[in-house]
Amino acid sequence: MYRSLLYVFLTGLGLTAGLLACDTPDPEAVTGTFVIQLDNVAGNQNLQLNTGTYRNALGESFTPTAFNYFVSNIRLIRTNGADYVVPQDSSYFLVRETDPASQRITLKNVPYGDYKGVSFVLGVDSLRSTMDISRRTGALDPGSDHTGANGMYWSWNSGYIFMKLEGTSPSAPVDATGSNTFRYHIGFFGGRDTRTINNLKTIPVLFGTDVAQVDAEKVPTVLLQADVLKIFDGPTLLSIKANPEVMISPFSSSIANNYAQMFAYRGKTTATLN
């Protein structure tokens, strides 16, 4: 008796789930647009590749020549607790300092509501890092431009570079090309068959007392700053002299712990539609 009741209950549940699963998009949209504008800075100065000179807490001056990072798995944090998770397939963005368009992340189909923060993964999660090649398009396409300063993929140790900062510094030793370069290529998603270090960081950025409202009339743009100085001046002080090149070494984890704290909320604007 109890068993048949259970089946009746499960059947009802299944039918309800079926109905919900094939719900067609409502023509009366209840979703809008949310924009994340990233601004790369060095302390209180705007970041200028190749021309700007900055100084870390150890007093080492440096000029960045490349700064790229992946932002993925974005979640918008609602004031009422029902977070909105951006569909995974549309949640990978490669931000490059040389490409202003890449610094503006436009999220569509965001449910109307009040948002008090955002969280994202800096890097490419392990699941996607081991997915079939057909599921890695756009910024994730290993066949897209991943050579030179743009390179964000390791072909010989299959995986993405989560954050790349390259530059010159009098504190760096002279390399084979005769320049004083430093290079930080931070990756490692935890390994596919063999466990390796995991430098993936989920980074929440809250908007303080601000609330970003998405509705039929309002498109909020939140401004997040990424401060390259924090890559040096975090829980571990990064010395260019001591570590001019960090790619595949356990020390990469210290840099990842530093850059996990490089983002800060700096305000919002709201565009009004109609």
Partner: protein
């Protein structure tokens, strides 16, 4: 009714409900729209009859994500033999992976790329890749589909960039029809380019050596007394690492090579794990007679040198694999007769069908 029958009926009801609830309202789903105009030419591929050799383990490659077709294999073969895969049009995959050497590069200790650039490791022969879970001496690539990017973009191998190469392939009149035939579209993407190469590489199955015929009790499978003695010795002394029908357990180990001139740290460059320092993939020994030189840096030119390394020249390094330290001493003791018998056995792993297979040769 049995319990499972009740469950089955319940599943049917739920599935039926789900299907019914998803019908678009109003329209009759059984009526197809009338075809208008001439029917487009249908894209039709022919499945490639890939077969697992009877004595082999199950393949690791997920064929379902890339079903082999004659058209896809033909495209991959054309790409494999095309010099345009290197930046200056001088080096194809086959430049370093030569069929006569079981797709290794004999007479080169270290890989040889564009402009006579020399790499850091001895190239591995290509064979039976459908059965491997990782590639290269350090296992840095674990998906066959991702493998070709490494040599294509390595500055001392093919020196190209994937976007530039894909653009060149797109502009080549040769390839558009081949992609169309293989994939039903002439849109040339990273995915299709790499999967075509995988398709061809998956057909590189070497399983027809005299040894294979012996274990499968097939005609031509006779082994001499020395070869049989070598097989017995091999099972006693070598098969812990060179295990199974692939002749590798696919692990990474240190075999006590001197590091006087080469300090390559191998697998730990991939995993960053201290326990992986100075370890390298256990290579398959199939076709080993043809794939000279040997070791990750090609330091030995003959199988006899390899025997001498294992029997007497092994270094007692801290990383030495425990299987190679016998009674507290490094090395696998072998008499001269045993060495000869082992080498005789290893030569039975040569697959002349594979080396001569026209389907794997350069296309006309």
């Amino acid at each position: 009714m049995q319990r499972w029958q009740i469950f089955g009926v319940w599943i049917s009801i739920v599935l039926f409900g789900a299907v019914v609830s998803c019908q678009p309202g109003g329209s009759d789903p059984t009526t197809d729209p009338e075809p208008t105009g001439p029917k487009p030419i249908e894209y039709q591929t022919t499945p490639y009859p890939w077969k697992k050799p009877a004595n082999f383990p199950e393949p690791t490659y997920a064929f379902a994500k890339n079903p082999l077709t004659l058209e896809g294999v033909a495209l991959g073969r054309a790409l494999f033999y095309d010099d345009m895969l290197s930046v200056n049009g001088t080096v194809s995959c086959a430049f370093c992976h030569q069929q006569g050497a079981a797709f290794a590069h004999t007479d080169h200790a270290l890989s040889h790329g564009i402009n006579d650039k020399i790499g850091t490791r001895n190239n591995l022969g290509l064979q039976n890749m459908a059965f491997y879970k990782a590639f290269f001496w350090d296992g840095g690539v674990q998906d066959l589909d991702l493998l070709p990017i490494a040599p294509i973009e390595n500055p001392v191998e093919m020196g190209h960039s994937m976007p530039a190469l894909l653009n060149a392939v797109r502009q080549s009149p040769r390839y558009r029809p081949m992609f169309l035939a293989a994939f039903g579209t002439d849109s040339i993407t990273t995915d299709r380019f790499l999967k075509a190469l995988s398709q061809f590489m998956l057909t590189m199955v070497s399983a027809n050596s005299r040894y294979d015929k012996y274990v499968r009790n097939e005609a031509g499978g006779r082994l001499s007394t020395d070869e049989l003695a070598g097989l017995t010795l091999f099972k006693q002394k070598c098969s812990t690492c060179h295990a199974g029908e692939l002749f590798t357990d696919q692990s990474y180990r240190n075999n006590g090579l001197s590091r006087a001139t080469n300090k390559d740290e191998g697998r730990s460059l991939i995993t960053l794990r201290p326990e992986d320092r100075f370890t390298f993939r256990v290579p398959s020994l199939r076709n080993v007679e043809r794939t000279s030189p040997y070791m990750h840096d090609g330091r030995f030119w003959t199988l006899e040198e390899v025997m001498n390394h294992y029997s007497t020249n092994m270094q007692d390094v801290p990383e030495l694999d425990p299987a190679l330290r016998i009674n507290g001493r490094p090395g696998v003791p072998l008499t001269d007769t045993e060495k000869k018998q082992l080498v005789a056995f290893l030569r039975t792993l040569t697959d002349t069908d594979y080396i001569a297979d026209r389907r794997l040769s350069a296309p006309n």
